[in-house]
Symmetry: C2
Subunit: 206 residues, 2 copies
Protein backbone atom coordinates (compact mmCIF):
# COMPACT_ATOMS: atom_id res chain seq x y z
CA UNK A 1 0.00 0.00 0.00
CA UNK A 2 0.99 3.59 -0.50
CA UNK A 3 -0.75 6.71 0.71
CA UNK A 4 -0.63 9.96 -1.26
CA UNK A 5 -0.99 12.91 1.09
CA UNK A 6 -0.63 16.68 1.25
CA UNK A 7 0.47 18.85 4.17
CA UNK A 8 -2.07 21.11 5.93
CA UNK A 9 -5.04 19.84 3.89
CA UNK A 10 -7.88 18.64 6.14
CA UNK A 11 -8.89 15.45 4.30
CA UNK A 12 -5.41 13.88 4.38
CA UNK A 13 -5.16 14.85 8.07
CA UNK A 14 -8.41 12.99 8.67
CA UNK A 15 -6.82 9.76 7.41
CA UNK A 16 -3.60 10.49 9.31
CA UNK A 17 -5.54 10.94 12.57
CA UNK A 18 -7.51 7.76 11.86
CA UNK A 19 -4.26 5.80 11.40
CA UNK A 20 -2.77 7.38 14.55
CA UNK A 21 -5.73 6.12 16.60
CA UNK A 22 -5.23 2.66 15.08
CA UNK A 23 -1.54 2.78 15.98
CA UNK A 24 -0.57 2.18 12.33
CA UNK A 25 2.58 3.98 11.21
CA UNK A 26 4.12 1.72 8.58
CA UNK A 27 2.20 2.66 5.41
CA UNK A 28 4.57 4.36 2.92
CA UNK A 29 3.56 7.97 2.31
CA UNK A 30 4.22 10.23 -0.67
CA UNK A 31 3.56 13.92 -0.08
CA UNK A 32 2.24 15.88 -3.07
CA UNK A 33 3.03 19.55 -3.60
CA UNK A 34 -0.47 20.94 -4.25
CA UNK A 35 0.51 24.57 -4.94
CA UNK A 36 2.87 23.22 -7.63
CA UNK A 37 -0.01 21.25 -9.15
CA UNK A 38 1.33 17.78 -8.36
CA UNK A 39 -2.26 16.53 -8.02
CA UNK A 40 -3.15 17.69 -11.53
CA UNK A 41 -0.51 15.74 -13.48
CA UNK A 42 -1.61 12.98 -15.87
CA UNK A 43 0.39 10.49 -13.82
CA UNK A 44 -1.48 11.28 -10.61
CA UNK A 45 -4.84 11.56 -12.36
CA UNK A 46 -4.38 7.96 -13.49
CA UNK A 47 -4.56 7.11 -9.78
CA UNK A 48 -7.02 9.78 -8.64
CA UNK A 49 -9.09 10.99 -11.62
CA UNK A 50 -10.54 13.98 -9.76
CA UNK A 51 -7.08 15.02 -8.46
CA UNK A 52 -8.05 14.24 -4.90
CA UNK A 53 -5.75 13.62 -1.97
CA UNK A 54 -5.67 11.50 0.07
CA UNK A 55 -5.42 8.56 -2.33
CA UNK A 56 -4.61 5.05 -1.15
CA UNK A 57 -2.90 2.81 -3.68
CA UNK A 58 -3.43 -0.86 -2.87
CA UNK A 59 -0.90 -3.61 -3.48
CA UNK A 60 -2.84 -4.75 -6.56
CA UNK A 61 -2.49 -1.27 -8.06
CA UNK A 62 -6.11 -0.17 -7.67
CA UNK A 63 -6.53 3.22 -6.04
CA UNK A 64 -9.05 4.38 -3.49
CA UNK A 65 -9.95 8.04 -2.99
CA UNK A 66 -12.31 9.93 -0.65
CA UNK A 67 -11.04 10.19 2.93
CA UNK A 68 -14.03 8.47 4.52
CA UNK A 69 -13.94 5.58 2.03
CA UNK A 70 -10.23 5.14 2.78
CA UNK A 71 -11.11 5.00 6.49
CA UNK A 72 -13.75 2.32 5.76
CA UNK A 73 -11.08 0.25 4.02
CA UNK A 74 -8.52 0.79 6.79
CA UNK A 75 -11.12 -0.11 9.45
CA UNK A 76 -11.47 -3.47 7.69
CA UNK A 77 -7.69 -4.00 7.69
CA UNK A 78 -7.10 -2.73 11.23
CA UNK A 79 -10.34 -3.36 13.16
CA UNK A 80 -9.08 -2.23 16.58
CA UNK A 81 -9.76 0.18 18.14
CA UNK A 82 -13.12 0.36 16.38
CA UNK A 83 -13.87 3.87 15.13
CA UNK A 84 -16.79 3.38 12.71
CA UNK A 85 -19.14 0.88 14.38
CA UNK A 86 -19.20 -2.90 14.84
CA UNK A 87 -22.53 -3.75 13.19
CA UNK A 88 -24.90 -2.09 10.74
CA UNK A 89 -26.83 -0.26 13.48
CA UNK A 90 -23.76 1.19 15.14
CA UNK A 91 -22.21 1.96 11.76
CA UNK A 92 -25.38 3.85 10.82
CA UNK A 93 -25.46 6.02 13.95
CA UNK A 94 -21.75 6.82 13.78
CA UNK A 95 -22.17 7.62 10.08
CA UNK A 96 -25.03 9.98 10.98
CA UNK A 97 -22.79 11.88 13.38
CA UNK A 98 -19.87 11.80 10.97
CA UNK A 99 -22.02 13.24 8.20
CA UNK A 100 -23.52 15.88 10.48
CA UNK A 101 -20.11 17.21 11.43
CA UNK A 102 -18.67 16.75 7.96
CA UNK A 103 -21.47 18.31 5.91
CA UNK A 104 -22.60 21.01 8.33
CA UNK A 105 -19.33 21.90 10.09
CA UNK A 106 -16.06 20.60 8.61
CA UNK A 107 -16.99 21.10 4.97
CA UNK A 108 -18.39 24.62 5.49
CA UNK A 109 -15.21 25.52 7.40
CA UNK A 110 -13.10 24.16 4.54
CA UNK A 111 -15.17 26.05 1.97
CA UNK A 112 -14.76 29.23 4.02
CA UNK A 113 -10.97 28.81 4.03
CA UNK A 114 -10.74 27.76 0.38
CA UNK A 115 -12.84 30.68 -0.80
CA UNK A 116 -11.77 33.24 1.76
CA UNK A 117 -8.02 32.83 2.18
CA UNK A 118 -5.90 34.67 -0.39
CA UNK A 119 -3.11 32.10 -0.07
CA UNK A 120 -5.35 29.43 -1.60
CA UNK A 121 -6.17 31.28 -4.81
CA UNK A 122 -3.48 29.20 -6.56
CA UNK A 123 -5.28 25.94 -5.72
CA UNK A 124 -8.88 27.06 -6.20
CA UNK A 125 -9.95 27.53 -9.76
CA UNK A 126 -12.42 30.23 -8.75
CA UNK A 127 -12.66 31.88 -5.33
CA UNK A 128 -15.91 33.57 -4.36
CA UNK A 129 -16.27 35.95 -1.40
CA UNK A 130 -19.99 35.21 -1.26
CA UNK A 131 -19.39 31.45 -1.08
CA UNK A 132 -16.88 32.10 1.72
CA UNK A 133 -19.36 34.24 3.64
CA UNK A 134 -22.22 31.78 3.19
CA UNK A 135 -20.20 28.91 4.65
CA UNK A 136 -18.62 30.98 7.40
CA UNK A 137 -22.09 31.71 8.75
CA UNK A 138 -23.25 28.09 8.54
CA UNK A 139 -20.13 26.71 10.21
CA UNK A 140 -20.26 29.18 13.10
CA UNK A 141 -23.93 28.39 13.74
CA UNK A 142 -23.07 24.70 13.77
CA UNK A 143 -20.22 25.36 16.22
CA UNK A 144 -22.78 26.72 18.71
CA UNK A 145 -25.02 23.68 18.22
CA UNK A 146 -22.09 21.28 18.66
CA UNK A 147 -21.10 23.15 21.80
CA UNK A 148 -24.54 22.42 23.26
CA UNK A 149 -24.22 18.74 22.36
CA UNK A 150 -20.80 18.51 23.98
CA UNK A 151 -22.13 20.01 27.22
CA UNK A 152 -23.63 16.60 27.99
CA UNK A 153 -21.29 14.09 26.33
CA UNK A 154 -17.51 13.79 25.93
CA UNK A 155 -17.41 12.97 22.22
CA UNK A 156 -19.34 14.01 19.14
CA UNK A 157 -21.33 10.77 18.86
CA UNK A 158 -21.78 10.27 22.62
CA UNK A 159 -19.72 8.34 25.12
CA UNK A 160 -17.22 6.85 22.70
CA UNK A 161 -14.56 8.43 20.54
CA UNK A 162 -15.24 7.83 16.82
CA UNK A 163 -14.44 8.91 13.30
CA UNK A 164 -16.87 11.81 13.82
CA UNK A 165 -14.45 13.41 16.30
CA UNK A 166 -11.64 13.10 13.76
CA UNK A 167 -13.74 14.64 10.98
CA UNK A 168 -14.82 17.56 13.13
CA UNK A 169 -11.29 18.24 14.40
CA UNK A 170 -9.70 18.07 10.94
CA UNK A 171 -12.17 20.66 9.66
CA UNK A 172 -11.88 22.87 12.72
CA UNK A 173 -8.09 22.87 12.73
CA UNK A 174 -8.05 23.96 9.08
CA UNK A 175 -10.05 27.05 10.03
CA UNK A 176 -7.07 28.28 12.05
CA UNK A 177 -6.04 29.69 8.67
CA UNK A 178 -8.92 32.15 9.12
CA UNK A 179 -7.73 32.74 12.69
CA UNK A 180 -10.88 31.02 13.96
CA UNK A 181 -10.94 28.56 16.82
CA UNK A 182 -13.45 27.84 19.59
CA UNK A 183 -13.19 30.33 22.41
CA UNK A 184 -15.20 31.38 25.45
CA UNK A 185 -18.54 31.42 23.64
CA UNK A 186 -18.23 27.69 22.90
CA UNK A 187 -16.49 26.34 26.04
CA UNK A 188 -17.61 22.74 25.56
CA UNK A 189 -16.29 22.65 22.00
CA UNK A 190 -13.01 24.09 23.27
CA UNK A 191 -12.82 21.46 26.04
CA UNK A 192 -13.60 18.69 23.53
CA UNK A 193 -10.72 19.81 21.29
CA UNK A 194 -8.43 19.77 24.35
CA UNK A 195 -9.52 16.21 25.20
CA UNK A 196 -8.74 15.19 21.63
CA UNK A 197 -5.30 16.82 21.86
CA UNK A 198 -4.35 14.29 24.56
CA UNK A 199 -5.16 11.31 22.30
CA UNK A 200 -3.09 9.71 19.51
CA UNK A 201 -5.07 11.69 16.92
CA UNK A 202 -4.00 14.87 18.70
CA UNK A 203 -0.35 14.13 17.98
CA UNK A 204 -0.78 14.38 14.21
CA UNK A 205 0.95 17.46 12.81
CA UNK A 206 -0.14 19.59 9.92
CA UNK B 1 -40.29 2.02 12.41
CA UNK B 2 -41.56 5.20 10.87
CA UNK B 3 -40.04 7.25 8.09
CA UNK B 4 -40.45 11.03 7.94
CA UNK B 5 -40.27 12.19 4.36
CA UNK B 6 -40.91 15.22 2.15
CA UNK B 7 -42.12 15.32 -1.47
CA UNK B 8 -39.71 16.43 -4.23
CA UNK B 9 -36.71 16.72 -1.89
CA UNK B 10 -33.73 14.71 -3.17
CA UNK B 11 -32.52 13.16 0.10
CA UNK B 12 -35.87 11.53 0.98
CA UNK B 13 -36.09 10.28 -2.62
CA UNK B 14 -32.70 8.67 -2.18
CA UNK B 15 -34.05 6.55 0.69
CA UNK B 16 -37.29 5.86 -1.23
CA UNK B 17 -35.31 4.57 -4.23
CA UNK B 18 -33.11 2.48 -1.94
CA UNK B 19 -36.21 0.86 -0.40
CA UNK B 20 -37.75 0.30 -3.84
CA UNK B 21 -34.65 -1.64 -4.93
CA UNK B 22 -34.92 -3.70 -1.74
CA UNK B 23 -38.58 -4.39 -2.47
CA UNK B 24 -39.58 -2.95 0.92
CA UNK B 25 -42.89 -1.07 0.94
CA UNK B 26 -44.33 -1.62 4.41
CA UNK B 27 -42.55 1.05 6.49
CA UNK B 28 -45.11 3.66 7.68
CA UNK B 29 -44.40 7.07 6.18
CA UNK B 30 -45.29 10.54 7.42
CA UNK B 31 -44.91 13.32 4.88
CA UNK B 32 -43.82 16.71 6.25
CA UNK B 33 -44.91 19.99 4.68
CA UNK B 34 -41.56 21.77 4.38
CA UNK B 35 -42.84 25.10 2.97
CA UNK B 36 -45.16 25.27 6.01
CA UNK B 37 -42.16 24.72 8.30
CA UNK B 38 -43.20 21.29 9.60
CA UNK B 39 -39.52 20.35 9.92
CA UNK B 40 -38.82 23.33 12.18
CA UNK B 41 -41.33 22.56 14.96
CA UNK B 42 -40.06 21.68 18.43
CA UNK B 43 -41.82 18.31 18.16
CA UNK B 44 -39.94 17.36 14.99
CA UNK B 45 -36.66 18.81 16.21
CA UNK B 46 -36.86 16.42 19.15
CA UNK B 47 -36.53 13.66 16.53
CA UNK B 48 -34.27 15.46 14.05
CA UNK B 49 -32.36 18.26 15.82
CA UNK B 50 -31.09 19.83 12.59
CA UNK B 51 -34.60 19.70 11.02
CA UNK B 52 -33.48 17.16 8.45
CA UNK B 53 -35.65 14.86 6.41
CA UNK B 54 -35.53 11.96 5.87
CA UNK B 55 -35.60 10.84 9.50
CA UNK B 56 -36.10 7.21 10.47
CA UNK B 57 -37.70 6.60 13.86
CA UNK B 58 -36.85 3.16 15.20
CA UNK B 59 -39.18 1.01 17.28
CA UNK B 60 -37.24 1.91 20.44
CA UNK B 61 -37.88 5.60 19.78
CA UNK B 62 -34.36 6.59 18.75
CA UNK B 63 -34.15 8.54 15.52
CA UNK B 64 -31.66 8.29 12.69
CA UNK B 65 -31.06 11.12 10.23
CA UNK B 66 -28.80 11.59 7.18
CA UNK B 67 -30.00 9.72 4.11
CA UNK B 68 -26.85 7.65 3.65
CA UNK B 69 -26.76 6.63 7.32
CA UNK B 70 -30.41 5.55 7.01
CA UNK B 71 -29.43 3.44 3.99
CA UNK B 72 -26.61 1.84 6.00
CA UNK B 73 -29.16 0.87 8.67
CA UNK B 74 -31.67 -0.42 6.11
CA UNK B 75 -28.96 -2.43 4.34
CA UNK B 76 -28.39 -4.23 7.65
CA UNK B 77 -32.12 -4.97 8.03
CA UNK B 78 -32.71 -5.92 4.38
CA UNK B 79 -29.40 -7.24 3.05
CA UNK B 80 -30.65 -8.28 -0.40
CA UNK B 81 -30.12 -7.10 -3.04
CA UNK B 82 -26.84 -5.71 -1.75
CA UNK B 83 -26.39 -2.04 -2.66
CA UNK B 84 -23.50 -0.88 -0.44
CA UNK B 85 -20.92 -3.70 -0.52
CA UNK B 86 -20.56 -7.08 1.18
CA UNK B 87 -17.23 -6.60 2.95
CA UNK B 88 -15.03 -3.69 4.02
CA UNK B 89 -13.20 -3.53 0.70
CA UNK B 90 -16.34 -3.49 -1.43
CA UNK B 91 -18.01 -1.10 1.00
CA UNK B 92 -15.02 1.23 0.66
CA UNK B 93 -15.03 1.30 -3.15
CA UNK B 94 -18.80 1.78 -3.36
CA UNK B 95 -18.52 4.52 -0.73
CA UNK B 96 -15.83 6.20 -2.85
CA UNK B 97 -18.17 6.28 -5.85
CA UNK B 98 -21.13 7.30 -3.73
CA UNK B 99 -19.17 10.20 -2.27
CA UNK B 100 -17.82 11.26 -5.66
CA UNK B 101 -21.30 11.57 -7.11
CA UNK B 102 -22.78 12.99 -3.92
CA UNK B 103 -20.16 15.64 -3.14
CA UNK B 104 -19.19 16.63 -6.68
CA UNK B 105 -22.48 16.13 -8.55
CA UNK B 106 -25.68 15.60 -6.52
CA UNK B 107 -24.88 18.11 -3.80
CA UNK B 108 -23.75 20.85 -6.21
CA UNK B 109 -26.94 20.29 -8.22
CA UNK B 110 -29.01 20.59 -5.03
CA UNK B 111 -27.15 23.74 -4.00
CA UNK B 112 -27.75 25.20 -7.46
CA UNK B 113 -31.51 24.56 -7.13
CA UNK B 114 -31.76 25.67 -3.51
CA UNK B 115 -29.91 28.92 -4.18
CA UNK B 116 -31.11 29.54 -7.70
CA UNK B 117 -34.80 28.67 -7.73
CA UNK B 118 -37.14 31.46 -6.56
CA UNK B 119 -39.71 28.93 -5.34
CA UNK B 120 -37.31 27.72 -2.65
CA UNK B 121 -36.72 31.11 -1.02
CA UNK B 122 -39.27 30.14 1.66
CA UNK B 123 -37.19 27.10 2.72
CA UNK B 124 -33.70 28.58 2.39
CA UNK B 125 -32.74 31.04 5.08
CA UNK B 126 -30.48 32.90 2.68
CA UNK B 127 -30.29 32.40 -1.06
CA UNK B 128 -27.14 33.52 -2.89
CA UNK B 129 -26.91 33.88 -6.67
CA UNK B 130 -23.14 33.48 -6.47
CA UNK B 131 -23.44 30.22 -4.54
CA UNK B 132 -25.93 29.01 -7.16
CA UNK B 133 -23.59 29.93 -10.01
CA UNK B 134 -20.54 28.36 -8.34
CA UNK B 135 -22.29 25.02 -7.93
CA UNK B 136 -23.97 25.09 -11.32
CA UNK B 137 -20.55 25.24 -12.93
CA UNK B 138 -19.11 22.44 -10.79
CA UNK B 139 -22.06 20.12 -11.34
CA UNK B 140 -22.06 20.58 -15.11
CA UNK B 141 -18.32 19.87 -15.30
CA UNK B 142 -18.90 16.72 -13.26
CA UNK B 143 -21.73 15.69 -15.61
CA UNK B 144 -19.23 15.64 -18.48
CA UNK B 145 -16.78 13.57 -16.44
CA UNK B 146 -19.48 11.10 -15.41
CA UNK B 147 -20.55 10.84 -19.05
CA UNK B 148 -17.03 9.71 -19.95
CA UNK B 149 -17.07 7.12 -17.15
CA UNK B 150 -20.43 5.77 -18.28
CA UNK B 151 -19.15 5.32 -21.84
CA UNK B 152 -17.37 2.19 -20.63
CA UNK B 153 -19.53 0.83 -17.83
CA UNK B 154 -23.30 0.52 -17.24
CA UNK B 155 -23.42 1.88 -13.69
CA UNK B 156 -21.64 4.60 -11.73
CA UNK B 157 -19.42 2.21 -9.77
CA UNK B 158 -18.84 -0.24 -12.64
CA UNK B 159 -20.69 -3.40 -13.61
CA UNK B 160 -23.12 -3.50 -10.71
CA UNK B 161 -25.94 -1.20 -9.70
CA UNK B 162 -25.30 0.41 -6.29
CA UNK B 163 -26.25 3.19 -3.93
CA UNK B 164 -24.05 5.50 -6.03
CA UNK B 165 -26.53 5.28 -8.92
CA UNK B 166 -29.37 6.20 -6.57
CA UNK B 167 -27.47 9.16 -5.15
CA UNK B 168 -26.56 10.50 -8.59
CA UNK B 169 -30.10 10.08 -9.93
CA UNK B 170 -31.76 11.73 -6.92
CA UNK B 171 -29.53 14.78 -7.34
CA UNK B 172 -29.91 14.90 -11.10
CA UNK B 173 -33.70 14.58 -11.02
CA UNK B 174 -33.90 17.50 -8.57
CA UNK B 175 -32.14 19.70 -11.13
CA UNK B 176 -35.15 19.38 -13.41
CA UNK B 177 -36.38 22.33 -11.36
CA UNK B 178 -33.69 24.34 -13.16
CA UNK B 179 -34.83 22.77 -16.44
CA UNK B 180 -31.53 20.88 -16.61
CA UNK B 181 -31.22 17.28 -17.66
CA UNK B 182 -28.60 15.35 -19.61
CA UNK B 183 -28.99 15.84 -23.34
CA UNK B 184 -27.00 15.18 -26.50
CA UNK B 185 -23.72 16.50 -25.10
CA UNK B 186 -23.75 13.78 -22.40
CA UNK B 187 -25.30 10.79 -24.22
CA UNK B 188 -23.91 8.14 -21.86
CA UNK B 189 -25.29 9.95 -18.82
CA UNK B 190 -28.65 10.16 -20.59
CA UNK B 191 -28.58 6.43 -21.44
CA UNK B 192 -27.63 5.60 -17.83
CA UNK B 193 -30.64 7.51 -16.52
CA UNK B 194 -32.85 5.63 -18.99
CA UNK B 195 -31.47 2.30 -17.77
CA UNK B 196 -32.23 3.35 -14.20
CA UNK B 197 -35.80 4.30 -15.22
CA UNK B 198 -36.47 0.64 -16.06
CA UNK B 199 -35.49 -0.52 -12.54
CA UNK B 200 -37.50 -0.47 -9.28
CA UNK B 201 -35.74 2.77 -8.27
CA UNK B 202 -37.00 4.33 -11.47
CA UNK B 203 -40.61 3.82 -10.39
CA UNK B 204 -40.27 6.15 -7.38
CA UNK B 205 -42.28 9.35 -7.88
CA UNK B 206 -41.44 12.82 -6.67
Amino acid sequence: MKLYMAPYAPNPRRVAMFLAEKGVSDIPIEVLDLPAGAHRTAEFRAKSPLSQVPTLELDNGTCLTESRAICTYLEGLYPEPNLMGRDATERAFLEMWDRRVELAFAMPLMMWVRHGHPGLAAIETRQSADVASFYEGGAKRMAVWLDQQLAGQPWIAGERFSIADITAAAGMDFAKMMKWRPEENTPHLKAWRERLAARPAGQVGP
